[in-house]
């Protein structure tokens, strides 16, 4: 099915003073139905990219979109509201509705257990309650394109899980575009079908999750917690780049995978199999990007 382009970015440069914050040369296109996970370490340019698309920072280059600012729903990393009144009045004014007359809004408020917070002023809310307040309003916008910038930061584990579940079910049958900035890869496993990998302002790679996995990791990967014993046992097998606390074994073929699994079973070693692991994609994409850069 042909999808409509929502945003197309090309030759984009953003500078903060003399510092280069973002440099996107090859086209990055976000289409209807895309669920783009934007990943990268701090200072990679993730939030700057969102701000550029929203026109909140000045940039050079091209960001093409048919959407107006009001057609892009955004949960920013930091969201502030007035402290002069209870949150229910802020919500009603922003959404141009009455909570008592809007069933969809009441459902969302109930789902996020926000009823008691409606009487409180924004400054009196906890970090998690503040996040939920913005999320409810962002979801109510029902925009063609939505950004969530570190939407689950500051939330406890249970609320985070619940929120991700809600986001997954909310966007499941919708054809809208979704861009999620997150440091929690397990959230993106559930939410994203594409990845935009950024590092120090540069695009390491952009594409479908499965394609990127095949490109950088092969067919499948077995992931184990690192130990000297495992290191010695698996020394002769092809390894993928991984965070220090993990060992990632490449399974280029079914035979190799079977061989590895039997070996691990024989030694009673725990492992995880994946063909979409975002952390391993990210680590290997970055490693190859810099290796290529060094060779060039």
């Amino acid at each position: 099915m042909e999808h409509t382009e929502l945003v197309a970015i090309e030759n984009l440069t953003v500078r903060y003073g003399k510092e280069l914050a973002l440099d996107i040369q090859s086209p990055v296109v976000i289409e209807e139905g895309d669920r783009v996970g934007i990943i990268g370490s701090n200072g990679a340019g993730k939030s700057t990219l969102i701000k550029s698309i929203l026109g909140l920072v000045s940039y050079e280059g091209s960001i093409r979109t048919r959407l107006g600012m009001e057609e892009i729903a955004t949960h920013m990393q930091f969201n502030e509201y007035t402290d002069s009144m209870p949150t229910r009045y802020i919500m009603e004014a922003i959404l141009q509705t009455k909570i008592s007359k809007n069933e969809k809004l009441r459902e969302l408020i109930a789902y996020f257990e926000f009823e008691d917070c409606l009487r409180k002023k924004y400054q009196k809310l906890s970090g998690g309650q503040k996040q939920r307040f913005t999320i409810i309003m962002v979801m109510m916008q029902n925009a063609p394109l939505t950004f969530y910038d570190e939407v689950t930061s500051g939330l406890d584990f249970e609320t985070r899980q619940k929120l991700v579940e809600k986001l997954v079910s909310w966007y499941r049958d919708r054809d809208t575009g979704l861009c999620i900035v997150s440091h929690y890869y397990e959230e993106l496993e559930q939410l994203a079908n594409k990845l935009l990998i950024l590092d120090q302002g540069h695009v390491v790679d952009y594409g479908k999750k499965e394609e990127l996995f095949r490109k950088y990791c092969g067919r499948a990967v077995l992931i184990l917690n690192h130990s000297r014993e495992k290191e010695a046992l698996l020394a002769k097998y092809e390894r993928l780049a991984s965070p220090e606390h993990l060992i990632a074994l490449a399974c280029g073929s079914e035979e190799r995978e079977r061989e590895l699994v039997e070996l691990l079973l024989a030694h009673n070693m725990d492992y995880t199999r994946s063909s979409t692991d975002i952390e391993i994609i990210y680590t290997n994409a970055k490693e190859r990007y810099y290796r290529k850069g060094a060779q060039a």
Binding site: L54, M69, N79, S84, I94
Partner: protein, 258 residues
């Protein structure tokens, strides 16, 4: 798919901004409480000094002069401080991301400020009429008082918006508008030193402020006596020009930033 654009003025945004204004306790203190108290205290003190025969004249003159503190406190001080605080915290940007254009916010704020100011004047006149002996105005005097207050309020709004947009910091904006507020009160003759007792340079500065004419001359206009409007008009033009220039610079800087 394109959403319908919001109207420039909506009742819900006006109510929201009105809650914003009334949620600020300083506006109630400086914009309502202080003018009411000051007008009663100063008017009674002046009558004690000048004698009962002058009671109506003195009390009306003081009352009309102190009334100008209401737009100064609610708009010049209250609005600029609120706007600077909002800018510092990124609230206008947050609202824009929800599709509420800054023009909608500004329009709603103008209307809510005017509503609050009208309510403040109702209280002011209500308490004044019951606590003081006020001279009844002639029709033209009452209309002119209202027109001058509205024009002065608009200028205050322009100045407040510009100061907040240029400074963008709550603390510095608060400091600047407090200095302006008390400077206007002192030069306008509301802090115990009348215009006649000011030094020549200060007199020259006072003549450029509409506040001076509210405090010193409005009784004459109120009762319909003949009055030379030239200097007062000049003060409005001067004050308006300063506010206009500041607003122009602020808007231009905003456009360059975008």
């Amino acid at each position: 798919m394109r959403e319908k654009r919001r109207k420039l003025v909506t009742w819900s945004m006006i109510v929201y901004e009105l809650r914003n204004v009334t949620g600020n306790p300083f506006i109630h203190i400086f914009g309502v409480g202080m003018p009411v108290l000051m007008s009663i205290l100063i008017a009674r003190m002046a009558v004690d000094q000048m004698g009962a025969a002058m009671a109506r004249t003195v009390q009306t003159s003081v009352f009309l002069g102190i009334g100008v503190l209401i737009p100064m406190a609610t708009i010049l001080m209250g609005y600029s401080v609120m706007q600077a605080q909002d800018l510092e915290r990124g609230i206008p940007v947050r609202l824009q991301l929800f599709g509420i254009r800054s023009s909608v916010t500004i329009c709603s704020r103008v209307i809510s400020q005017l509503i609050f100011m009208a309510a403040a004047f109702l209280v002011y006149f209500g308490v004044g009429a019951s606590a003081l002996e006020l001279e009844a105005p002639c029709v033209s005097g009452a209309i002119l008082y209202g027109v001058c207050l509205v024009v002065f309020s608009v200028i205050c709004f322009m100045m407040a918006h510009a100061i907040a947009a240029l400074i963008k910091k709550f603390s510095i904006t608060y400091c600047v508008v407090m200095i302006l507020y008390f400077a206007c009160m002192i030069l306008g003759g509301m802090m115990g030193v009348s215009y006649e007792n000011l030094s020549s340079p200060l007199k020259a500065a006072a003549r450029l402020l509409p506040v001076t004419y509210f405090n010193r001359d409005f009784y004459t206009i109120w009762i319909g006596d003949s009055y030379r409007f030239g200097p007062m008009l000049q003060s409005y033009l001067f004050f308006g020009a300063i506010a206009g220039i500041l607003l122009f610079i602020a808007l231009k800087r905003e456009r360059v930033r975008k």
